[in-house]
């Protein structure tokens, strides 16, 4: 085989005076970068295998390692960047599609970072979250068009029962990540953390492992185009059923879990033979139109006796507002909009990086459209794809979301360093892998603690910030774009986001 023209993406720098040749790096690396001929012998590195995940750096007991990005692999050029040149070289060598994992890594504007939040001064007081209750509880599901009450003496009674509502103690949920794309330990940590937090996790499209069904009261199960793992019990145990029409990281295409990752456990959960490829078609082959979607929504409601809210998840694409309107009218109770920065276990890089629109503009457009049509209350809106911190959550809610999903952020809490090689199944952090040796690195109990800490910390920050705004209930923030101001955005962007520029008063 001729020598590859693609240089290593990273250099491994080993300070030999520090290295004690203990072999930790050899064992920690899932990509076989480090090697040792004999115990306590010389450690050598195969740099072209390195993905920059930093596992060895973190675990080296003597801090002898540095992983440095190879920034000088090509002559600097504004158009022909290293990424562009290396992709061409890879494709010239293989003739294949370039894969990528996690979210879009192209330098698009991050609208969240160009929106500033408001606070109270003088004319209304800020509310101190240490002294006053700050409410972030959120309900998902369609709302009744009105409440009818009947007086009985001095009290009142509800006349008609409300549609089913799902109570979240914080408006942050764990996004869909399937067993298969991530390890069972990670699935368990997410499920248990959601239960402790009073929020929901999402099984993704890979079925629902029997061992994790004890957390079903906090589960959203997906019905995706591959229908993996879907049976009556799967639907009945769930709190919410989500029809996955699309994913922000790869709008318009399906999924592919290679047979090598199809361990017997993954296969059993997905209800397919061991070792076979699990292919999710690009479309649902029974949904070629909005009326077909309505049929599936109705079918799922019918088989679950109208006890489960139905969510429909779509990728944020150019016409997302009209699509969402159609979904609301098709009878969905929740619409999840997944922005282009959402993560994935595997996607063609061209799809991940080039298709779709950012979640900020998508959620703003959808919320506005649904309000204009007077159907905003018929659905809850969940924003997903690129939520990185509590401020992003707050801004998404101001723009119109009821709640958000976090996927990448949750994985980062468990150790993910965004090397973007999930599709290889070699994850050194033990997250995106089915390898027994690697996946034991995520201790579900410690993982739960880290996830709970993360979401609790964000929730505290949310309370602090809404208190500063003079608000003590999150519903007063929903769609409240007057609490946002745009910085460095042009007039059209401001219009689409429905916010005023910084400096313009109320």
């Amino acid at each position: 085989m001729p020598r590859s023209l693609v240089p290593p993406a990273f250099f491994v720098e080993r300070v030999t005076t520090r290295c004690i040749k203990c072999g930790v790096c050899v064992r920690q690396c899932g990509f076989s970068v480090h090697a040792q001929a004999e115990p306590y012998g010389e450690v050598v590195s195969t740099e072209e295998n390195c993905v920059g995940c930093q596992r060895c750096v973190v675990f080296c007991p003597t801090r002898a390692l540095r992983i440095m990005e190879n920034v000088h692999s090509v002559r600097q050029h504004p158009n022909w960047t290293a990424g562009v040149i290396h992709d061409i070289q890879k494709q010239a060598e293989t003739g294949g599609i370039i894969l990528g994992s996690m979210g879009c890594d192209k330098d698009y504007p991050i609208y969240f970072d160009r929106l500033a939040l408001n606070a109270s001064q003088v004319t209304n007081p800020a509310i101190d979250p240490l002294r006053e209750p700050m409410e972030v509880r959120t309900y998902l599901g369609s709302k009744a068009p009105r409440v009818e009450v009947k007086r009985s003496g001095v009290t009142f009674r509800l006349q008609k029962p409300m549609p089913i509502g799902i109570k979240l103690e914080t408006p942050i949920m764990f996004a869909a990540m399937s067993f298969g794309s991530i390890s069972k330990n990670v699935c368990e940590a997410l499920a248990k953390a959601a239960t402790e937090l009073g929020t929901l996790f999402n099984t993704g499209e890979g079925g629902y492992h029997a061992d994790l069904r004890k957390y079903a009261a906090n589960s959203i199960v997906q019905v995706a185009s591959g229908r993996f793992g879907v049976d009556k019990e799967y639907l009945e145990v769930a709190r919410v059923i989500e029809i996955k029409m699309g994913q922000g990281a790869k709008p318009g295409i399906g999924g592919h879990l290679p047979g090598e990752k199809m361990t017997w456990e993954v296969a059993r959960t997905r209800m397919i033979p061991k070792g076979t490829d699990a292919i999710s078609p690009a479309p649902h082959h029974d949904i070629y139109s909005i009326e077909d979607l309505k049929q599936l929504i109705d079918t799922l409601k019918e088989v679950t006796d109208y006890k489960k809210p139905i969510s429909v998840k779509v990728a944020a694409v150019h016409n997302v507002a009209a699509i969402a309107s159609g979904i609301a009218r098709a009878g969905a109770d929740i619409i999840t909009i997944d922005g282009m920065k959402g993560g994935t276990g595997a996607a063609p890089k061209v799809v991940r990086n080039e298709i779709g629109i950012p979640i900020e503009v998508a959620i703003a457009a959808v919320d506005q459209r649904l309000r204009e049509e007077g159907i905003r209350d018929e659905v809850s809106l969940v924003a997903s794809g690129g939520i990185r911190c509590s401020a992003d959550v707050l801004k998404a809610i101001c723009l119109g979301a009821d709640a958000v999903y976090i996927g990448t952020a949750a994985l980062v809490a468990l150790g993910c360093h965004l090397c973007g090689k999930c599709y290889t199944g070699k994850c050194s952090w033990g997250i995106a892998t089915q390898d027994e040796y690697l996946s034991r690195r995520v201790n579900p109990e410690l993982g739960v603690k880290r996830l709970v800490n993360l979401v609790n910390a964000w929730t505290l920050e949310i309370k602090e910030v809404i208190g500063a705004m003079g608000i003590n209930a999150i519903e007063s923030l929903r769609g409240n774009r007057l609490h946002l101001r745009g910085i460095g955005l042009n007039e059209v962007e401001l219009k689409v986001l429905g916010v005023k520029p910084a400096g313009e008063s109320m």
Binding site: S120, V122, T123, N124, P125, I127, E132, P133, E135, R137, Y139, K143, A144, R146, V147, E148, V149, R151, T155, F156, R157, L158, M162, G165, R371, E372, G374, R376, D377, M469, G470, I471, N472, A473, E475, S476, L477, R478, G479, N480, R481, L482, H483, S505, M506
Partner: protein
């Protein structure tokens, strides 16, 4: 820059007096109560609502209309002619008062809907909103049966003198003194706000305004003034007239119990509380406020749920008083039988006794 082009936060003084027996009393009394709260206003807005003030015309819709110019008045005339019979059209009586300047045209109409069986209230509400939205510089101070709103730019006591409030008698009066923190106020932007017989005086600034506003807009209301008070007034109309909810329930929408309180409620009560928060969460009025909502036959006074604005209530014989300050009450009733400070979110709802003559509804 006219009000309505920009949003103006403001502080304020409010008061309300009701005679439970429906006995009419002079508007001078509410003016006196407002006078002692002079320092809570800054002379950029004062106003009053009187109920039961037009007993001879109680079957007609009384419209108080202001216009910046005569064109506005003739446009209003045209609009009224389409659907109403004008029984009487006259200038609203005023007297020259020091401290009140820049007076717009102020007209009073008594109207009868032409079609008998049509939903007259809906027609009157739509006409009001249409004038406010489409006829520039023109604003309906009030349009309902047997009640009227008097408001303008000035201190409340001057506004009362200007509109000759001492010459009117009603069984319920509310008053407002305004402290806007921006640009000179506009006559239409003073309180009370009204739609049909529901009037609102408001002290505070609603931090949830953006959420409230967008919800009301999606329900077909157009915010002409960009003030939170306008939003509360429309929310009252939406919940009371369109959704037929009683005031006790509306209070629970504006200032709902906290979730920790709801969680401890008996099942039936909890179910209702959750239903209200889920359905009308966008109408939760968050941030500091005290409001007095006047309506045919009664009033409701309410604080935000943290009680971030002052509100005092008192009762003496058949009289019930609410005000921003106790001093205002004692100015007109020195020794009330009881005085209390309603808790945050705890509404004071006082209706005229049933079967009383001037109960207009």
């Amino acid at each position: 820059m006219l009000e309505g082009w920009v949003r103006i936060p403001s502080g304020c003084a409010i008061a309300g007096i009701i005679n439970q027996n429906g006995q009419a009393f002079s508007g001078e009394m509410i003016a006196r109560a407002m006078t002692v709260m002079h320092d809570r206003s800054n002379g950029l807005g004062g106003g009053f609502a009187g109920y039961g003030i037009y007993p001879e015309m109680k079957e007609a819709y009384a419209f108080h209309v202001l216009a910046q110019d005569k064109t506005g008045i003739s446009q209003v005339d045209e609009l009224f002619k389409e659907n109403f019979t004008v029984i009487l059209k006259e200038p609203l009586p005023t007297r020259r008062t020091a401290g009140v300047a820049g007076t717009p045209f102020l007209m009073r109409y008594f109207l009868q809907p032409q079609k008998e069986n049509a939903d007259a209230d809906q027609l009157v509400a739509a006409t009001t909103l249409q004038i406010n939205k489409h006829i520039g510089g023109t604003f309906v101070l009030s349009g309902a049966k047997n009640m009227g709103v008097f408001k303008g730019v000035g201190y409340p006591e001057d506004i009362a003198a200007f509109f000759r409030l001492d010459e009117y008698k009603g069984y319920l009066w509310t008053g407002h003194g305004r402290f806007p923190t921006n640009t000179p106020g506009w006559w239409g932007g003073a309180h009370p706000f009204s739609l049909l017989d529901v009037t609102l005086v408001h002290n505070g600034e609603i931090s949830s305004y953006g959420a409230n506003r967008r919800y009301l807009e999606s329900q077909g209301y157009h915010m002409t003034l960009q003030t939170d008070s306008e939003a509360i007034a429309y929310a009252c109309d939406f919940l009371h007239r369109r959704h037929q909810l009683p005031w006790e329930i509306i209070a629970k929408v504006f200032a709902p119990p906290h979730w920790w309180e709801i969680d401890r409620m008996p099942a039936e009560e909890r179910e209702l509380a959750v239903a209200l928060r889920r359905t009308y969460g966008s109408l939760l009025m968050n941030g500091p406020f005290s409001i007095i909502v006047g309506f045919a036959g009664g009033m409701m006074a309410l604080n935000d749920r943290l009680k971030l604005r002052s509100l005092v209530a008192a009762q003496n014989e058949e009289w019930v008083f609410v005000a921003s300050e106790e001093a205002a009450i004692r100015a007109v009733c020195p020794e009330p039988e009881s005085v209390w400070y309603p808790k945050g979110g705890e509404a004071v709802i006082q209706l005229v006794k049933e079967n009383v003559e001037c109960h207009a509804a």
